[in-house]
C-alpha cells in the first residue's frame, strides 16, 4: 500500500469551514492527507468488523 498518486476531491462545506480547509491545504497539506487516510482506514476496518461476524452475529434485515 505504499504506491501513491494524487486524488482530487470536491467537497461542499459551510463557507467558514471551506475557508479553513483551503487554509490548511495551503499551510499543511500533509495534515489533510493524514485526515483522509485515517477516515478511509477507519471505514474499511468498520466494514470488515461488520461483515466478519466476529464480534457478534450480523443483523438480519427484513
Amino acid at each position: 500500500m505504499s504506491d501513491t498518486r494524487p486524488v482530487e476531491l470536491v467537497l461542499r462545506l459551510p463557507n467558514e469551514m471551506a475557508d479553513s480547509v483551503e487554509e490548511v491545504r495551503e499551510r499543511d497539506p500533509e495534515y489533510l492527507n493524514r485526515v483522509i487516510r485515517y477516515a478511509i482506514v477507519r471505514r474499511a476496518v468498520y466494514r470488515e468488523l461488520q461483515s466478519s461476524g466476529d464480534l457478534f452475529p450480523p443483523l438480519v434485515h427484513s
Binding site: A44, Y46, L49, L55, F56, L59
Partner: protein, 139 residues
C-alpha cells in the same frame, strides 16, 4: 482503561474461494437482541481502536502482517485489492488489539455515553444510508 472480558478469537476461515477466505463467519450466537444502533456504535468504537494501531504501524510492519494473513488464507498479496488487504490486516490486528465484548461496552456506554461518543465517527449512519440507497436501486 480495562475491560471485563477478553476479545474473542477470530474464527477459522474457509478455503473454497477468495470471498470465503476473506468473507463472513457464522459468529457467536445469542447476542442478536442488542439494539441495532448500539451494535453499530460498538463497531464504530472498535474500528477506532484498531485504526489507531493500524496507522501507527510502519509500512514494513503493515506489509508483514498482510503477508502473514495472506499466507494463512492461502492468498497472494500482490493480487489483492485495497479492501482485501484491509480485511487481512484488520483480522491480524483484531487478535492483538484489546476490545471490550459488546455486553460490557453497551452497559458502560448506556451508563456514560460521553465516555465513548468522542471516539465515534458516525460510520454506522453512513452505512445505513448506503444500505437504504442500495435497496432503492434494486427496486
Amino acid at each position: 482503561m480495562t475491560f471485563k472480558s477478553e476479545p474473542q478469537a477470530i474464527p477459522n476461515v474457509g478455503q473454497n474461494s477468495d470471498e470465503d477466505r476473506l468473507g463472513t463467519s457464522a459468529g457467536a450466537q445469542g447476542r442478536a437482541d442488542v439494539d441495532p444502533v448500539l451494535r453499530a456504535k460498538y463497531l464504530d468504537y472498535c474500528s477506532a481502536q484498531i485504526s489507531e494501531v493500524f496507522l501507527s504501524l510502519t509500512d514494513e510492519h503493515t506489509y508483514q502482517l498482510m503477508e502473514e494473513a495472506a499466507l494463512e488464507a492461502d492468498l497472494t498479496v500482490g493480487a489483492l485489492s485495497f479492501q482485501a488487504m484491509m480485511k487481512l490486516v484488520t483480522r491480524k490486528l483484531r487478535k492483538s488489539v484489546p476490545l471490550p465484548d459488546i455486553e460490557t461496552w453497551v452497559t458502560e456506554y448506556t451508563e456514560d455515553p460521553g465516555r465513548y461518543d468522542p471516539f465515534l465517527l458516525g460510520l454506522w449512519e453512513s452505512e445505513e444510508q448506503d444500505r437504504h440507497g442500495q435497496q432503492g436501486e434494486e427496486r
